[in-house]
């Protein structure tokens, strides 16, 4: 039996965070919430996260910086960036960093479902290439920390 995919949600606003988590659970995934980028980075669940949904404007690291922090540490976690204040510059930067989606708050559930499907597909293709290359993730993480 396949495991229920874990979706991590980072948002400093508790109402938005809990609402999105509720929706994630109702879609049959397992949602877990974090109130800041640092809480997520320190949680020890990054590798288990099938998709990260992060708010953009947050105190501390913002969503785009969190996305970059993950990449620089060698994680390939698919990321969906969400924001209550969308602009083209942020959208371009999010996609340039490999985001699977950039959604304006409040978003429609169908848009979220499409982004989540894309994220899960991306993750399984990463997993396939990992198996083929004999645990390259560990190598990647080490290489990243050496850099």
């Amino acid at each position: 039996m396949s495991e229920i995919p874990l979706i991590s949600i980072v948002d400093d606003d508790s109402l938005a965070r809990e609402g999105i988590c509720e929706l994630i659970d109702s879609l049959g995934y397992k949602g877990v919430t974090f109130e800041s980028a640092n809480h997520f980075l320190q949680c020890g669940q990054i590798l288990d996260t099938a998709c990260l949904i992060t708010d953009l404007q947050m105190p501390g690291l913002n969503g785009l910086e969190l996305q970059e922090a993950l990449r620089s540490r060698g994680y390939q976690t698919p990321v969906i960036v969400i924001t209550g204040y969308p602009n083209e510059k942020h959208r371009t930067r999010a996609f340039a960093n490999g985001a699977v989606g950039f959604l304006s708050k409040p978003f429609n559930e169908q848009c979220l479902i499409e982004c989540l499907n894309a994220a899960i597909d991306l993750r399984s293709s990463h997993a396939r290439s990992r198996v083929a290359a004999h645990h390259p993730e560990i190598t990647t993480a080490k290489a990243a920390s050496r850099r």
């Binding site: 609402g19 999105i20 509720e22 404007q57 209550g84 204040y85 708050k105 409040p106």
Partner: protein, 270 residues
């Protein structure tokens, strides 16, 4: 000949007077234009702030409603979960309303006459309204009120809102530090008879120095829970009182926000 010379001199004098009048007109047009731009910037900042703050509860409402529909579609429907979700939706609705109430209060205040304000009094009032919240967060509060502060002229509710925002931000900033390290210092003092100063200092993790320059732009900064208006608006309010709102921090040991309000300058209406 004499008549011709007089006529030319008169004409020259008239022309020079006309040029002066045009210059004065151009100058006042420029001032009007600047004032209009200031107003637009204020409105743009206010609208963006409100939009951003209202979208948070709206996000909670729409996502929760979608979730509730899915819980009901299950066989059997998960009614308990739906009840919980409905409570969240209710809360989010009230939060959105709170943001709008705050904005309305701010704009109502600009319709009223400015008044003479005792800044010590104002500060104490705001602190008292936050008494419960400060206790709940175990924040040790140290208040130092300057003696014989001159009164300033301004919009009372607007200035209350600014101090309230700074205090909320301070409480939020200390949420992640140990309970016995949560110290809030609020000081008022005068800069001779020129200005009145209010300082709000927290013992949170501070603001990285490279971020200090941008925290007064809309949404770059922390979001005050509930009250809904950010530092961008606070800064505009103080500027409209002819004063200045500044922040300093070493990025480690807390942050200090300083409001300087001139005694002489009268805040412009609107």
């Amino acid at each position: 000949v004499y008549l011709v010379i007089t006529a030319i001199a008169l004409l020259a004098a008239l022309l020079s007077e006309k040029a002066k009048l045009y210059a004065r007109l151009a100058q006042s047009n420029k001032l009007l234009e600047r004032e209009r731009k200031n107003k637009l910037t204020n409105i743009a900042a206010a609208v963006s702030s409100v939009a951003h703050e209202v979208r948070q509860p709206l996000m909670g409402i729409t996502a929760s409603a979608s979730a509730a529909r899915r819980w009901l579609d299950r066989v059997p429907p998960d009614v308990d979960r739906v009840k919980q979700v409905l409570t969240n939706i209710e809360q989010a609705g009230f939060r959105a309303n709170e943001v709008l109430t705050n904005v309305r209060n701010l704009f109502q205040d600009t319709d009223h006459e400015q008044q003479s304000i005792d800044v010590n009094n104002l500060t104490v009032e705001v602190l008292q309204s936050l008494h419960g919240e400060l206790n709940d967060h175990n924040v040790k509060t140290d208040v130092e009120l300057g003696s014989e502060l001159p009164h300033i002229i301004g919009h009372r509710v607007q200035l209350q809102e600014v101090i309230l925002n700074l205090l909320h931000n301070a409480i939020d900033a200390m949420a992640s530090v140990k309970v016995d390290h949560r110290a809030l210092r609020v000081r008022t003092k005068s800069d001779g008879d020129k200005a009145v100063i209010v300082e709000v200092e927290d013992s949170g993790h501070g603001i990285e120095p490279q971020r200090l320059g941008s925290i007064f732009e809309p949404f770059v900064t922390t979001k005050p829970k509930g009250s809904g208006l950010g530092l961008a608006i606070c800064s505009r309010i103080i500027e409209r009182h002819g004063g200045q709102l500044t922040a300093s921090s070493d990025g480690k040991n807390g942050a200090l926000f300083k409001i300087v309000l001139p005694v002489e300058q009268t805040a412009r209406a609107g």
